[in-house]
C-alpha cells in the first residue's frame, strides 16, 4: 500500500534517537535531558509503529505497544518532573553535574 520503504522510517528514527542520545549525554540542564529522553522514546515509538506496518510480522500489536510506551513515558516525565522540583527546592539548581550523590 505504502510506497515509502521501511528504511526511511528507521533512518528517521535513528537520527532522532541519535540526537536525543547526544543531548541526553551532554546537556547540563536536567529538563533538557528529560526532553531528550522523550525524543529517544519517540524514536522508538516510531520504530514500533513502522514495524507494525512494514515489519516482518505486521499487525496492530505494534501500535498497541507504542501506546503503552507513550503512557509509561508520560508517567516517567511526571515523576521526573516531581523529582526535579524536589531537587530544585533542595539545592536550588537544575544541573545534572551537581547531582553527584552516587559518589558517596
Amino acid at each position: 500500500m505504502t510506497t515509502i520503504p521501511l528504511q526511511a522510517y528507521l533512518i528517521l528514527a535513528l537520527i532522532l534517537f541519535c540526537i536525543g542520545l547526544f543531548g541526553a549525554l551532554t546537556k547540563r540542564n536536567t529538563i533538557i535531558v528529560l526532553i531528550c529522553i522523550e525524543l529517544m522514546l519517540n524514536a522508538v515509538n516510531l520504530n514500533l509503529v513502522a514495524f507494525s506496518q512494514l515489519g516482518n510480522n505486521p499487525g496492530i500489536t505494534g501500535q498497541v505497544f507504542s501506546l503503552f510506551t507513550i503512557t509509561i513515558a508520560a508517567a516517567e516525565v511526571a515523576v521526573g518532573m516531581a523529582i526535579l522540583i524536589a531537587w530544585y527546592r533542595h539545592k536550588n539548581g537544575v544541573n545534572v553535574d551537581e547531582m553527584d550523590g552516587l559518589k558517596d
Binding site: 542520545l21 541526553a24 549525554l25 551532554t26 535531558v33 545534572v96 553535574d97 547531582m99 553527584d100 550523590g101 552516587l102 559518589k103 558517596d104
Partner: protein, 618 residues
C-alpha cells in the same frame, strides 16, 4: 668383630648426644662417661684393626640417597690406610679425653666440653672409615664443626669467637674446592666410591686435564683442612680453644685429614704429575714458611701451631714426591709427638696461667715430668736420632731426593733445621733460664694429665721403629698390601741422608742453645729488623686477608645494599605508583555523575557494537 666397626664412630656420637641432653644431670660424671666410652671405642678400634690385619679389606654399604637412577650409598670401608688412621685417632682421642679430665676440671661447661670432644672424635672416626667421597666430605665438614665448637668453647671471649668463625670459614673455602672436585668426579665416573674412582683412573676413563683439575680442586680442600699456605691462617688462631683441643686438632684429627685426603685420592694424583708437583711445592713452601714464623712467635701455643703447619707441609711434600708411606708415616709419628707437645704445653699453661713464653722460664725445676716429656717431644719433632721424628723425616727427605727434586730437597733441609731451632728456642725459653714467675703460683699437675703424657712420650720415642730400614718397614708393608698403585715406589734410605738429617737436627739444637741459653748472639739488631717484624706479624697474611677478602665481601654487601636501596626500591616505587595511579584514576572516575557513567556505558556499547559489525557480525 669387624662387622661392628660402625660402633667406632657411633659410640662417641652417643656420648655427644648423652652429654648434651643430660649435661645438667651428669655434671662431673660426664667426664668419666666420656673417657669410658672413648676407651671402649679405642678397644673396639684395636680389635677391628687386629682383625683387619688378617682380612685386609672390609666394606659395608647401605643405600642412602636415591636420585632417580643415581644411588648414593653410605657405608664403612676398612683397609690398611684407614685402619691405621682409625687406631691412631681412637688412641690419641682416648688419651686426650683422659687428659681433659684434669685440664678442664672445674670449668663451668665441663660436660659440654666432653660432648664437643666426642662429637669431634666421632666425626674424625667416621671420616677415616668413609667408603665414598661424599660421605668423606660429610664427615670432613662435621670435623670442621667439631673444631669450630671447640675453638669457640670460651664463647664469651671475643678472640675465641673470631677464631672459631675464621676456622669454619677458612676450612669451608677449602671444602668448596673439594665439593666441586667431587661433583666433577661424579660426572666423570658416575660414582663416588673410592674403588670406582681408582678403577676409572686406571682405566683411563678421564682426560688428563680433567684429572689434574679435579686433583687440584680436591687438594684445595686438603689445603684448607691441613692449614697449608695460603689457607693456614685459621690454624694458629685456633689456639683460642682449650689446650687439649689444640692437641686433638693438631695431632691426629682435623689437620691430618687433609693429608689423609691426599692419601686416599692418591691414584688420582699419581695420574697427574702437575697435581703432584703442586702438592709438593705447596707442602715445601708451607714447611719453610711456617717454620720461619715459628722462629719468632712468643705465644707458647702459637709456636706449636706454626710447627704443626710446617710439619704438615712436610707431609704434603712427601705426598707430592711419591713418598706415600713417608707422608703417612710422618703423620703417624707426628700425631704422637705433637699431641705430646701440646699436652705438655697444656700442663704448663694449666700450671702458670699464661701462654707468653717471655713470662716463663726455669720451669724445669717445678714441672719435672712436664719438662722431661716436652724435651722428648721436642727431640722427636727435631728429628733427633733414634726418636720417632728422625725416621719419618729422614724418609721424607729420601723420597724428595729420590724424585730428584733438589730444590725442594734444600728447602726441606732448611725447614728441618729451622724446626729444631724454634723447638729448642721454645724449650730453652720455657724450661731453662731464670724463672720469671713466683714458683709457688705454679699448680701441680694432676695424675689424669700425667699418664697420657707419659704414654705419648713412650710413643714419641719408639713409634719410629715401626718403619725403619733396620728392623723392618712394617707400616709401609702394611699400607702397600693390596694397594696395587703403590707398587715399586718405595724409596730406600741411605746412610748419608741419615747423617745429614742428624747434623741438621743437632745443628739446630746447638744454634738454639747458643742463642737462647748462652746468649751468644746479639739479638737487638735482629729484633728491630724489618724481617723480624714481618715474621712476628706472620707475613701480614691476616691483614692481607682482612683488607682484601673480608673488607671486599662487606664492600660487595654494602654495594648490594645500594642496589637494594635504589634499584629495587625503584621497582617498589614503580609498582606502588602504578597501583596508586591506577586506583586514583579509578576513584577519580567515580564522580557520581550519572551522565558520565551513562556516557561511558554507551561508549562501551558502541565499541562492542562497532567491533561486532566490523567482524561481519550481521
Amino acid at each position: 668383630m669387624i662387622e661392628f666397626a660402625w660402633l667406632i664412630p657411633a659410640l662417641p656420637l652417643l656420648t655427644f648426644l648423652l652429654l648434651i641432653v643430660l649435661r645438667e644431670k651428669l655434671k662431673k660424671a660426664s667426664g668419666y662417661v666420656a673417657v669410658l666410652i672413648s676407651g671402649i671405642t679405642f678397644i673396639v678400634a684395636t680389635l677391628v684393626f687386629l682383625q683387619l690385619i688378617d682380612v685386609g679389606n672390609f666394606l659395608m654399604e647401605w643405600s642412602w640417597l636415591t636420585i632417580g637412577s643415581i644411588d648414593i650409598s653410605f657405608g664403612i670401608l676398612l683397609n690398611p690406610l684407614n685402619g691405621l688412621m682409625l687406631l691412631l685417632v681412637a688412641f690419641i682421642s682416648f688419651l686426650i679425653h683422659m687428659y681433659s679430665l684434669g685440664y678442664m676440671d672445674g670449668d663451668q661447661r665441663f660436660s659440654t666440653f666432653f660432648a664437643y670432644l666426642s662429637l669431634f672424635t666421632s666425626a674424625m672416626l667416621g671420616l677415616v672409615m668413609s667408603p665414598n667421597l661424599l660421605q668423606f666430605y660429610m664427615f670432613w665438614e662435621l670435623v670442621g664443626l667439631g673444631s669450630f665448637l671447640l675453638i669457640g668453647f670460651y664463647f664469651y671471649k671475643n678472640s675465641a669467637k673470631q677464631a672459631a668463625k675464621k676456622a669454619f670459614i677458612m676450612t669451608r673455602i677449602g671444602d668448596v674446592g673439594l665439593l666441586i672436585g667431587l661433583i666433577l668426579l661424579f660426572w666423570q665416573t658416575n660414582s663416588l666410591r673410592f674403588v670406582d674412582i681408582y678403577q676409572a683412573v686406571t682405566n683411563g676413563d678421564m682426560s688428563g686435564g680433567m684429572i689434574t683439575l679435579i686433583a687440584i680442586l680436591i687438594f684445595i680442600g686438603a689445603i684448607g683442612k691441613s692449614g697449608q699456605f695460603p689457607l693456614h691462617t685459621w690454624l694458629p688462631d685456633a689456639m683460642e680453644g682449650p689446650t687439649p683441643v689444640s692437641a686433638l686438632i693438631h695431632a691426629a684429627t682435623m689437620v691430618a685429614a687433609g693429608v689423609y685426603l691426599v692419601a686416599v685420592m692418591y691414584p688420582l694424583y699419581m695420574a697427574s704429575s702437575l697435581a703432584m708437583m703442586i702438592v709438593a711445592i705447596v707442602g715445601a713452601f708451607t714447611a719453610i714458611y711456617a717454620a720461619t714464623i715459628g722462629l719468632v712467635q712468643n705465644d707458647l701455643k702459637q709456636v706449636l701451631a706454626y710447627s704443626t703447619i710446617s710439619q704438615l707441609g712436610f707431609m704434603m711434600l712427601a705426598m707430592g714426591v711419591l713418598g706415600y708411606t713417608a707422608g703417612i708415616f710422618h703423620l703417624f709419628t707426628h700425631a704422637f709427638f705433637k699431641a705430646l707437645l701440646f699436652l705438655a704445653a697444656g700442663s704448663v699453661i694449666h700450671a702458670v696461667h699464661t701462654q707468653n713464653i717471655k713470662e716463663m722460664g726455669g720451669l724445669n725445676q717445678k714441672l719435672k715430668l712436664t719438662s722431661a716429656v716436652f724435651l722428648i717431644g721436642a727431640l722427636a719433632i727435631s728429628g733427633f736420632p733414634l726418636f720417632s721424628g728422625f725416621f719419618s723425616k729422614e724418609e721424607i727427605l729420601a723420597s724428595v731426593w729420590a724424585e730428584g727434586q733438589y730444590g725442594l730437597f734444600i728447602i726441606a733441609i732448611v725447614a728441618a733445621f729451622l724446626t729444631s731451632v724454634y723447638m729448642f728456642r721454645l724449650y730453652f725459653l720455657v724450661f731453662h733460664g731464670e724463672s720469671k714467675l713466683t714458683l709457688d703460683k705454679v699448680k701441680p699437675v694432676p695424675m689424669t694429665m700425667k699418664i697420657p703424657m707419659m704414654v705419648l712420650a713412650l710413643f714419641a720415642i719408639f713409634s719410629g721403629f715401626f718403619n725403619t730400614s733396620w728392623f723392618g718397614t712394617y707400616i709401609a708393608d702394611f699400607l702397600e698390601e693390596g694397594a696395587t698403585y703403590l707398587e715399586g715406589i718405595h724409596h730406600g734410605s741411605s746412610i748419608w741422608l741419615m747423617l745429614l738429617a742428624t747434623v741438621v737436627s743437632l745443628g739446630g739444637i746447638a744454634l738454639a742453645y747458643l742463642i737462647y741459653v748462652k746468649n751468644a748472639l746479639n739479638q737487638e739488631n735482629w729484633k728491630t729488623s724489618g724481617t723480624y717484624q714481618m715474621l712476628l706479624n706472620k707475613y701480614y697474611m691476616d691483614e692481607f686477608y682482612d683488607n682484601t677478602f673480608v673488607k671486599g665481601s662487606r664492600g660487595i654487601g654494602l654495594g648490594f645494599q645500594y642496589v637494594e636501596k635504589y634499584f629495587v626500591r625503584l621497582i617498589i616505587l614503580f609498582i606502588g605508583d602504578l597501583v596508586t595511579t591506577f586506583s586514583r584514576t579509578g576513584s577519580k572516575s567515580q564522580t557520581g555523575q550519572a551522565q558520565t557513567y551513562t556516557a561511558v556505558a554507551f561508549l562501551g556499547l558502541v565499541l562492542f557494537a562497532a567491533v561486532y559489525m566490523l567482524k561481519g557480525g550481521y
